[in-house]
């Protein structure tokens, strides 16, 4: 952590000095201090636009998480569903779901709904695949052992497949949560009445590059906080599975 922070601090200093020495216009590249200063001056507006983004992220991600668990468990129990859905899920990973966001605005309007749908779509597939692969990572020998104990399919799931899937689940959760924030911003960028995405879009059009960057900083803080939260949850839910 220390060295990473030092690199960031170093880059910020180079940026600040570079801007001051070259005298580049703030509409092109504002200095980090200016971004901070203006972000603070506009804090109320920034906050008012952070809340809807956060809300969309939370709702969309919760919906996605519930669907991913439901589908992954169903696939784990049904060989037929597995054969039917696995190729589709793998293929879906290659679809640029972001690209259909404008369509969703057309279909669902400018409120919470299209944002939730975009977030759910971009996070659903990686998390479902991560869970299914997690259940499948159960060693064959472990299944044999459980069967020799007389375990039903449900007992095998409960005692081995489910806990064994935790490392893989948390990895995909981290991927999902970063996609979720990006997805929310993008959905707002395409069309919304409030949110960090629309804020950035508006400020960009009035050449307030400093405020665009201030919103980027808020977005980054949001992502990093949610990302860190997944480690906390993992520590609480599955302390034995901490990787590294």
């Amino acid at each position: 952590m220390g060295p990473a922070l030092a690199v960031v601090a170093g880059l910020l200093v180079v940026w600040q000095v570079g801007v001051e020495v070259s005298g580049v216009a703030p509409q092109i590249l504002p200095s980090p201090l200016r971004v901070l200063e203006q972000g603070w001056a506009y804090r109320e507006q920034l906050w008012a636009n952070t809340v809807p983004t956060l809300q969309a992220t939370a709702v969309g991600f919760t919906v996605s998480l519930a669907l991913a668990w439901g589908l992954a468990v169903a696939v784990d129990f049904s060989p037929w569903l597995r054969r039917a859905l696995t190729p589709l899920l793998v293929a879906s990973q290659t679809l640029p779901i972001i690209a259909i966001a404008p369509l969703l605005i057309i279909w669902f309007g400018f409120g919470l709904a299209p944002k939730v749908v975009v977030i759910a779509l971009v996070t659903f597939f990686p998390m479902t695949v991560g869970l299914i692969e997690g259940f499948d990572s159960t060693p064959r020998q472990a299944t044999r052992l459980l069967r020799s104990m007389g375990a039903s399919r449900w007992a095998q799931f409960r005692y081995v497949r489910l806990p064994g899937a935790m490392p893989s689940f948390f990895t995909s959760l981290r991927i999902g949560i970063t996609y979720a924030v990006t997805g929310a911003i993008f959905a707002e960028y395409v069309g919304a009445t409030a949110g960090l995405g629309i804020f950035m879009s508006v400020q960009k059009n009035s050449f307030r590059t400093d405020l665009v960057l201030a919103a980027v900083v808020v977005t980054a803080l949001l992502s990093v906080t949610l990302f860190a939260l997944t480690f906390l949850v993992q520590r609480l839910v599955a302390p034995w599975s901490r990787d590294g």
Partner: protein
Amino acid sequence: MGEPKLRVQDVHLAFPGLPVLDGVSFDVAPGEFVSLIGPSGCGKSTLFDVVAGLHRPDAGRVVVDGRDATGRVDPFAYMPQQDLLFPWRTVLDNTALGLEVAGVPRRTARRRAGELFGAFGLAGFEGARPAELSGGMRQRAALLRTVVQDRAVLLLDEPFGALDSLTRADLQTWLDDVRAGFGWTVLLITHDIREAVRLSDRVVVLGPRPTRVRCEIPVDLPRPRPQEATAAAGAVEAEVLAALRPG
């Protein structure tokens, strides 16, 4: 010999295009310790799958206490080659897993497993995670998980295969001791002729795949048996080796 505890009767099994078991038959008496030894890949683990009820044979039967037990898991407690202790459970919870799966209430399961910790040299490690145990202790914990299920026959698939030779020798001595106390009926797969002769009342030698019983060699050596090689044990080992490599 009275009625055998376990009778394996003319068991045949083929995987698609690969005949593996070709009429395997042998008996195990109550309280007897029998080792299965045979060339690598001849079908020993497959035979265990059939005996343990995990895989139906194409033909033949498994009989326990005079009753047909083909395809049934409940008369057997099976210990796989890897210890398979789960990192999300404490050592105590790992050893109680078989009972829990069988529907024994968690507290009772933990108490029954806990009672054996002393005899298995694991006292004080109940709350530890498996990763904190040495290789020998992990193997003892896996064996505890097996025997606490209180099944009629123990099936041990190369339980000491992954251990260094010193730990292995110590565990053999220990197993010989506790087994005498508990009166378990044991079927053991091993690659190690010395181990088979150390522990067994009888060694069943299997031929190459498709396998069947080549011969059975009784081990009439007094117990407790010493760790060091003795002339008498050496003679039996030579006999097993000759049976494995005829001609």
